[in-house]
């Protein structure tokens, strides 16, 4: 039978995690710009340190303004809880190091944001964590790469810049069959376009800097725990399912059950690594999150018009967007992303690197910068910027050719964006000819 449903996504985007301030009646979320919080009495103080009462101690660990954002992101993702961090990369680092340490292994998609690729290829190996990279479009490749010391599988829901889409239901089934969680970076899909947890993901990460914030004014990240992975049923996670010396001998699963992982991420990871979000940034990101559903609809509709325009333009040799029947993940996109495949994609100009430069120089409305998911339309040349730390072999593996141009389509009037692109394409054509 059907059951009564909780509040809808659009309502939660506006309200989840916050009620009018009980002291002042403030409707908007107040910015609690305070490093620390006064204890009512010594009993409350000791109880907070013993995790025997609820409340805030110090803003590196938790903060009331940040807490609203955390609860809202968790509500929208369908997770049991979230921890917000100083950046998306901080969330990825926190997510990984909460369960992986020296001697452990990760299986990751080879199509990743450059920073993530760097973390897995160079930084984590310095701390004894190895990664095997696999083709994200081949679920069996994930299975084949799993080792006895593997801790999780990792992929981006939509990879940047060629928009490969990982088959979350199949890859999560492989992970679960092996007693492993699936961790996904869902920055480009947001919880509005894809409910990754419902599809099978166990841990979801966002760079809130992008579409969730939306306005390009604050950097932040979020780590979301689905609460569905049964850590105690796998023998790979003694740090969660056995007494952990790193936090007073606490057995996180025994104490917290479904939210063991996210509690350890906060209690250990924020304590020791300290990549916490500032309350002011949380406030800015909350303003953006309130309008996420409406903005994403506009991002997608603008993108559809631009993709259609580029796909038939003489100066363009290829458009890499899953809405295109020629895209290798077109069918899985229809299944997993019925509301649209996002607003970040790439295309290739017939004139290669020189045409690419001319095109970018010819744009007036699109901003040339290293970000995506802004309300304003953005453009970048990945090989010389976001992916510049990769050598040629890694670039090719990540699907980045020298002439590739990435767009992040904003909320401007579509006709104005199309006119800007048309003008820049004329310049590119001149160089190519």
């Amino acid at each position: 039978m059907s059951a009564p449903k909780n509040l809808h996504f659009d309502t939660l985007a506006l309200h989840a995690g916050q009620r009018p301030d009980s002291q002042t009646g403030a409707r908007a979320t107040p910015i609690y710009q305070s490093t620390s919080f006064v204890f009512d009495d010594s009993d409350k103080a000791s109880s907070l340190f013993d995790v025997a009462r609820a409340g805030h101690v110090y803003s590196r660990i938790s903060n009331p303004t940040v807490g609203v954002l955390e609860e809202r992101v968790a509500a929208l993702e369908g997770g049991v809880g979230a921890v917000c961090t100083a950046s998306g990369m901080a969330a990825i680092h926190l997510g990984m190091t909460t369960i992986a340490g020296a001697g452990d292994h990760i299986v990751a998609s080879r199509s990743l944001y450059g920073g993530t690729h760097n973390l897995l290829s160079y930084t984590l190996p310095r701390f004894g964590v190895e990664t095997t990279f696999v083709d994200p479009s081949d679920p069996d490749a994930f299975a084949a790469a799993i080792r006895p010391n593997t801790k999780f599988l990792f992929a981006e829901t939509i990879a940047n810049p060629r928009c490969e889409i990982v088959d979350i239901p199949r890859v999560s089934a492989i992970a679960h069959d092996n007693g492993l969680p699936l961790m996904v970076d869902a920055t480009l899909t947001t919880p509005y376009l894809m409910q990754a947890i419902k599809l099978g993901a166990d841990i979801v990460i966002h760079s809130l800097t992008k579409f969730i914030g939306g306005h390009g004014v604050a950097v932040g990240g979020a780590l979301v725990d689905s609460g569905r992975f049964r850590w105690e049923k796998s023998d790979r996670f003694p740090g969660l399912s056995e007494p952990y010396a790193g936090f007073h001998g606490m057995n996180f699963v025994e104490e917290f059950g479904p939210y063991a992982y996210i509690m350890r991420a906060r209690k250990e990871g924020l304590r020791d690594f300290g990549a916490s979000m500032s309350p002011t940034n949380a406030f800015h990101l909350l303003q953006g999150l309130e309008t996420l559903p409406m903005r994403m609809d506009r991002h997608v509709s603008n993108t559809t018009k631009i993709v259609d325009f580029l796909a038939t333009h003489n100066a363009v040799s290829a458009v890499h967007h899953p809405s295109q029947p020629s895209h290798p993940d077109h069918e899985i996109a229809k299944e997993l992303l019925p509301k649209g495949c996002g607003a970040v994609f790439s295309f290739e100009l017939k004139g290669g690197r020189l045409a690419g430069s001319a095109f970018i120089e010819g744009l007036q409305l699109f901003s040339h910068l290293a970000n995506v998911g802004d309300a304003k339309s953005l453009v970048i040349h990945p090989a010389s910027t976001t992916h510049s730390r990769m050598d040629d072999a890694d670039l090719i593996q990540a699907g980045v050719s020298p002439g590739l141009v990435r767009l992040s389509v904003g909320l401007e009037a579509a006709d104005d964006l199309l006119a800007d692109l048309a003008g820049a394409l004329r310049r590119a054509e001149k160089v190519a000819s």
Binding site: M1, S2, A3, P4, K5, N6, L7, H15, A16, G17, Q18, R19, S46, S47, D50, V51, A52, R53, A54, G55, H56, S62, N63, P64, V66, G67, V68, E70, E71, R72, A74, A75, G78, G79, V80, G81, A82, V83, C84, S226, G227, R228, R230, E232, M250, E254, E255, F256, G257, P258, Y259, I262, R266
Partner: protein
């Protein structure tokens, strides 16, 4: 800790503190389809404030083996026997008892306390009513192991404010956590528990026996749609107990309002 009891491995939490000689035994029991983790903050608090806290997972729940027991009376007998069993091998009193239960757990503790009046120091009933009638749509959905049963409990079990959130436990969605916790129960567990609640007929007799013979407190949420506050008040009246009403709080008071629930429990224990 895990212990062998009735030829099964049973999980019993202690609030993160080892039991010590000379302290009253405070037993906290979870509700239908749930487990010990609903008591995490309160259990850890009382374990550090003068009590030996005992937080069992009922058979077939959480980390305890076995099949769920199918009547409130069977569960009550199990709890009393477990306390005796633990007292044999641990520094745990079984004659200075505080029993506390939530929802189905409150019926179990009501019944268990009625057979141990002489040893009972206090009885705390949270989100309680007797009888505890369960609607046919919920029972049917639980019988068929439909996810709709979980959704109904979550919707009816949380006050509107808790569906919005603003959890004092930073970053945790109480609503989604309850859904995840109920999803962890094996097929048949939720139905067995709800059916046991629905079938329990001994509440009046237990209350009559306890009234005047045990110190009792009932803690209710004014937005509780699972066990409405007026039914909790009626039970409290039968028990001649103390009544605490939590404002803007639903049935899942320990996760919805851990601080106000703690305050009410401390008052109840002091009374």
């Amino acid at each position: 800790m895990k212990t062998e009891f009735n030829k099964q491995t049973i999980f019993v939490g202690s609030g993160g503190v080892e039991w010590r000689e000379g302290l009253p035994t405070f037993v906290l029991l979870h509700g239908a389809g749930l487990n010990r983790t609903v008591w995490v903050l309160l259990g850890r608090y009382f374990a550090r404030h003068g009590y030996n806290v005992v937080i069992p997972d009922l058979p077939g729940h959480g980390a305890s083996e076995g099949e769920p027991l199918v009547t409130i009376e069977d569960n009550a007998s199990w709890v009393n026997s477990l306390v005796d069993h633990l007292a044999q091998s641990h520094p745990l009193a079984n004659d200075n008892l505080i029993y506390c239960g939530h929802s189905m757990g409150s019926l179990v503790m009501l019944e268990a306390a009625a057979s141990r009046v002489a040893q009972m120091d206090k009885l705390l009933l949270l989100g309680s009513s007797a009888p505890m009638v369960v609607g046919a749509p919920l029972l049917d959905a639980a019988r068929n192991n439909e996810h709709a049963a979980i959704e109904m409990i979550n919707m009816f079990g949380h006050g509107f404010g808790s569906r919005i959130g603003n959890n004092p436990v930073s970053g945790i969605s109480a609503y989604n956590t309850m859904e995840a916790l109920l999803e962890q129960a094996d097929d048949g567990v939720l139905f067995a528990d709800l059916n046991a609640c629905n079938d329990y007929k001994n509440g009046d007799a237990a209350a009559k026996y306890l009234a005047g013979n045990a110190k009792v407190a009932v803690i209710a949420g004014d937005a509780d749609r699972m066990t409405p506050a007026k039914l909790g008040a009626k039970l409290c009246s039968q028990l001649e107990g103390s009544y605490f009403l939590l404002k803007d709080c639903g049935h899942m008071m320990m996760s919805e309002q851990p601080e106000t629930t703690l305050k009410a429990m401390k008052k109840a224990l002091a009374g």
